[in-house]
Symmetry: C2
Subunit: 371 residues, 2 copies
């Protein structure tokens, strides 16, 4: 057991459904509540298990929807009630992380928070801890720090971070300033990024003093900042919290933290990055889920599901089985089959990104019962 | 309404499961009990509806397994009890058709029987009736007569019949003698057959005097013939029938009528054929089921299932839906998806013939519960 890092609080925004993983992920069973690696536990629990030793078991907060409160408490039985921050509806990452920052800074003015998505997969815990330690050192020096992943292929599924000059911070040997963030590139661009060691994958991890983060939000969007501060003031009073959430939360601007915090801070030279030398995947679609579970074997059929009864004849890809049905595949390559009680998806790795379109179509055609 | 043809009895062997259509077809839901055309009724009922006007409603017999008795009587509510011939187990087509012949010839010594599979699809009822009328005329002249289908493509999924010289029989303008039967050919051979007007598809229909058919069986296999005659003698005595079936039926040779009757009779110049100018398909696998339901449109997705909830994005092939689940297909071509309560099949038209291998594998691995 390692000792927790003093003054650090981990924050886990657990908000997104993961529409590209429909019909596995859905409103009442979002991505973070699934075991996508065969580890035997949910991604949320994996995330908690990574962070609790670094922050301390009573210093990990989860920001999630009211609808997921019971599931989160079931997955994280040790979590103190005061560390579960409930949203009345999804308002994107700036509101979620900003709320945690605003609440925690009132409890501890010098607190450093680190936010880590509830539904990413990470392998290589020592390297992860080392990166977080460096990022905390950078945050103590007043920067907002992210962790960037050295690319292992020219991915078009992730955003990239371009490093600028090195940053000299004690305890953060590999820190650098960030020159800019770039959105998911096309393949040709991804190849130039991959060939250029200055580019890292944006893994969406931000480590910062809470007050520094809030100051950045205030500079970019004073209204949003004011809403968060007002919510935080009411938060630790049980009688005032609920009404404040009902009144203020739905009015908050819905925007990703990349736009409000990361990019503006980078432009001002206040955004740093340390490389994370661990395996990371945001499991954005079934193609990456297949890859993640194929254990490097091509032409393999990955199978996810405790009670899977699969019969495969010359087939590859992934089967996700949530039922007890016998599933037989014959001669289908790079196939994606997701078998749930009320919905079935059949596609290929190549078309995995288009799953979100199906979800949109189901909404439009009044079949939201399976979403 | 047409008048029935005097002295004619139609026989429907309803025995095969149709393993290549698993998991749709299975032991307790064989192919003939499915609606495979979207007609709203089963193939067995379609077959009955074609034959009853020709033979008369009280002159259509069904040979089926004891397990299917209730289903057959439900599908054919008008069928007289004495025309349902129950097998204790499947013994292939010679035993099934031979039993019917042996029973019917005792009731009517001059009877002409015509046997027609319970699970084929035919479109073009007038042409069918015309072919049967000609075949009956040929049978009256003492020949065993089959109906051959002029090929519409070089199919490798059907056996072929090679016509020899014309046969002069009044009322059978297109009759010819059969030179020989050939098994399913490879594609190159199928192309030469297709180019040669002498070849017809073997649709497995046989029309003959019952006594002529039985004489042919006796000539080829006296033991099998004796068993059938003994069964028939006991048949119309309710007390003797059951014990006779239990004792004799399991001992009968299991062999297709093509080998015992059709090929030997052809070799002796006693087998005739009339062409059937109607659409015919034995729906041997999901590829042919897809074609049958695509209505000639390529790149189309055929859908079978009363309550099908299908969402297709740039997909083609066939979906068979027996559940109320939403089925979403994205970018899959020539796909075959068969969705049942306890089993799911995903393959392609190209590999449809290999479904039987899955059924064999399920048997071997102790998962016969879904067969």
């Amino acid at each position: 057991m390692r000792d927790p890092i003093p003054g650090f609080y981990a924050v886990i925004p657990a908000g997104g459904i993961g529409s590209r993983l429909w019909p596995l992920s859905r409103a009442d069973a979002p991505k973070f509540l699934h075991d996508l690696t065969g580890s035997g536990q949910t991604l949320l629990r994996d995330t908690w298990d990574r962070l609790a030793p670094i922050a301390g078991h009573d210093r990990v907060a989860v920001v999630t929807g009211r609808a997921h409160r019971a599931a989160v408490e079931r997955e994280l039985p040790g979590i103190p009630d005061r560390n579960v921050f409930l949203e009345s509806e999804p308002r994107d990452s700036t509101a979620a992380i900003g709320l945690a920052a605003a609440i925690l800074v009132r409890r501890e003015p010098d607190v450093i928070i680190g936010s880590f998505a509830a539904d990413h997969v990470i392998r290589g815990i020592n390297a992860f801890e080392w990166a977080v330690e460096q990022a905390i050192a950078v945050a103590r020096a007043g920067y907002i720090c992210t962790i960037g992943i050295p690319p292992t292929e020219p991915s078009v599924g992730f955003g990239y971070i371009r490093r600028a000059g090195e940053l000299t911070v004690e305890g953060a040997r590999e820190a650098a300033l960030v020159e800019r963030f770039v959105e998911k590139p096309d393949l040709a661009t991804a190849r130039t990024y991959f060939a250029d060691r200055a580019y890292l994958w944006n893994a969406g991890m931000f480590i910062s003093r809470a007050d520094v983060l809030l100051a950045e939000i205030e500079a970019q969007d004073p209204v949003l900042h004011a809403g968060l501060v007002e919510l935080a003031e009411a938060w630790d009073d049980r009688d005032r919290r609920g009404p404040a959430v009902d009144r203020i939360w739905p009015t908050l601007r819905k925007i990703a933290i990349d736009y409000v915090v990361a990019e503006p801070a980078a432009a001002k030279g206040r955004l740093a990055v340390v490389p994370g030398h661990f395996e990371w995947d945001d499991v954005g679609d079934f193609a990456s889920l297949a890859k993640l579970n194929s254990h490097g074997r091509k032409n393999d059929l990955a199978i996810l599901g405790e009670n899977a009864r699969i019969l495969s004849d010359a087939s590859s890809g992934i089967v996700v089985s949530q039922t007890a049905r016998v599933i037989s595949l014959i001669g289908v390559q790079d196939i994606v089959v997701v078998d749930t009680e009320d919905a079935l998806l059949v596609t290929t790795s190549e078309h995995a990104q288009r799953v979100k379109g199906v979800v949109d179509a189901l909404k439009l055609t009044g079949r939201g019962d399976v979403l």
